[in-house]
């Protein structure tokens, strides 16, 4: 068990990369998703068609392929490597792939949430002389947020685990770090347990997330 500190150190730094990708994706995809949701609900046909087209492409293809395309296509097709080969470039490409992918899923959840608010409330608002913007921010938004928390929690927990897909473009997240010891890394070769041990990290982090999201759901209960 002398290897324990080395393995845990490597897994920690791998998990740090996992967390970085997770938080950046959330920060980027939560607002971008709202933008796409507005796009798909727009009465301006070309805009709603475009949004729906993007959502179709992104939801219709595997995230793994999207990662490969975003990282390798600039160099392969345009003959101009825009990411750089190092860790930073790989992280950047992974972040952008994840943000776009998750924004599309989020947008559909938002749309469901917004459209679930009864039309009567909007009509009442209009009768009272409120603007559409006022109606959205003062009447619909909080109700929508409350309703989308359970499906969003689902997606967010999936996101934690999906970050492992980024290893396809050699982003060194925790699964990569665990697998490294199977072949040999830092003087430890042929060790299987670090790979399986990574599951503990995911499990604990998702446990914390679940508690936090449940608490948020309870806080938003005042609408009932």
């Amino acid at each position: 068990m002398a290897q324990m500190p080395i393995v845990i150190g490597a897994l920690n730094s791998g998990f740090l990369q996992t967390l970085r990708l997770f938080f950046i994706t959330l920060i980027g995809a939560v607002p971008l998703g709202l933008l796409i949701a507005f796009g798909s609900m727009s009465k301006f046909r070309p805009l709603s068609m475009l949004s729906k087209f993007i959502v179709w492409i992104i939801r219709g293809t595997p995230l793994m392929i999207q990662l490969l395309i975003i990282f390798y296509f600039p160099g392969l097709v345009l003959h101009k490597q825009i990411w750089g080969g190092g860790e930073t470039g790989r992280f950047l490409a992974a972040s952008i792939s994840f943000i776009i992918n998750y924004a599309c899923y989020f947008s559909e959840i938002y749309r469901g949430g917004i459209q679930s608010v009864p039309v009567g409330q909007e009509e009442a608002g209009l009768v009272l002389g409120m603007t559409k913007t006022q109606i959205f921010f003062k009447v619909k938004l909080m109700q929508m947020i409350k309703r989308i928390v359970p499906p969003m929690s689902n997606e967010i927990i999936t996101l934690v685990k999906d970050t492992s897909l980024a290893r396809i473009i050699a982003l060194q997240e925790i699964i990569w770090a665990g697998q490294a010891f199977m072949k040999g890394s830092q003087g430890i070769a042929g060790e299987i347990w670090p790979l399986f041990f990574t599951a503990v990290y995911y499990l604990i982090f998702n446990g914390v997330l679940t508690v936090l999201l449940e608490r948020l759901e309870r806080k938003l209960d005042y609408f009932r």
């Binding site: 805009l47 490597q81 080969g85 190092g86 199977m182 072949k183 040999g184 042929g190």
Partner: protein, 291 residues
């Protein structure tokens, strides 16, 4: 009604700004490729009179120009691995550092997914693959490779308690094998007509044997020496038959002139003894290709 128009307009502005954002980005890229193409064309025009090897010329010029040789590797002791300080060392890593120095450029090591090595080269995220790479037909047809610099073999890995039964090729017929997809090991077992399952990595092949889902694995002898036996999770495994002998080389982008430059560097390093010294440091001197 006015407000409705306003909100539609706002959405329109958002959409346009999004599109504009995308547009300017791709615009940049296009401009860059244009200028690069233009530069390449100019180089071609300029040198067509004097030199026919234009495409190859540009790769060495490309690396020297950006000032860094990006070496694609995997963590693979004793070829490329991290020392206590987290620096990349190993026989391949040290030779790569010396080669970069001879070119007058910095060296950068990047860990890659081995399956994507050709993608990484063609996508220019790395400049060469220098990581104990077996020179197979597949490798030499998709990359510009150097000559061989190190000997290697594919060996059969079986549990220790049954190792006695499998000491020659004929005895292997009734075993189920696990081999790395696309590896030299896969080529060997399929040539022998053996029953096998392709897996993602050599380490996964060992996992198959250790867990009993396959009877045997075929992996590199250098890797087998480092990964199995006492002090690993695979203490109960051992290796027996060598199925072939093969050679390691370094791969560059197809058509690159750097492969020839590195060949010359290897010849010089052999001549002045620096390559032998480096090999002895990592215990691979017996495997060096003597010319």
């Amino acid at each position: 009604m006015k407000r409705k128009v306003l909100s539609v307009l706002l959405c329109g502005v958002l959409a346009v700004s999004m599109l504009a954002g995308c547009g300017s980005k791709s615009g940049d890229v296009v401009t860059n490729t244009d200028t690069e193409d233009a530069a390449e064309n100019a180089a071609e025009d300029g040198s067509s009179a004097t030199d026919t090897e234009t495409a190859a010329d540009s790769d060495m010029a490309y690396v020297v120009d950006k000032g860094t040789l990006v070496v694609g590797i995997t963590d693979f002791e004793p070829m490329d691995y991290k020392d206590e300080n987290g620096d990349w060392v190993g026989f391949d890593a040290d030779m790569a550092k010396a080669f970069a120095e001879s070119l007058g450029v910095d060296v950068e090591f990047v860990e890659i997914d081995w399956d994507n090595k050709v993608l990484e080269l063609d996508g220019k995220s790395i400049d060469c693959v220098w990581n104990g790479m077996t020179l197979t037909d597949e490798v030499t047809s998709s990359m510009e490779c150097t000559g061989a610099y190190l000997n290697n073999a594919q060996v059969v890995v079986v549990p220790k308690n049954v190792a006695d039964k499998y000491q020659d090729t004929d005895s292997l017929a009734d075993l189920s094998f696990a081999v790395e997809a696309g590896s030299a090991g896969e080529a060997e077992v399929s040539a022998l007509g053996l029953n096998y399952t392709p897996v993602k990595a050599q380490s996964d092949a060992l996992l198959e044997v250790a867990s009993g889902t396959s009877d045997a694995a075929v992996i590199d002898s250098l890797m087998a020496a480092a990964m199995i036996g006492e002090g690993t999770s695979y203490a109960d495994l051992t290796y027996t038959v060598a199925l072939n002998s093969e050679k390691y080389g370094v791969g560059f982008r197809k058509g690159s002139d750097l492969a020839a430059v590195l060949d010359e560097f290897f010849v010089n390093a052999m001549a002045d003894g620096s390559m032998q010294a480096c090999a002895e440091q990592y215990g691979v001197q017996a495997a060096l290709v003597q010319e």
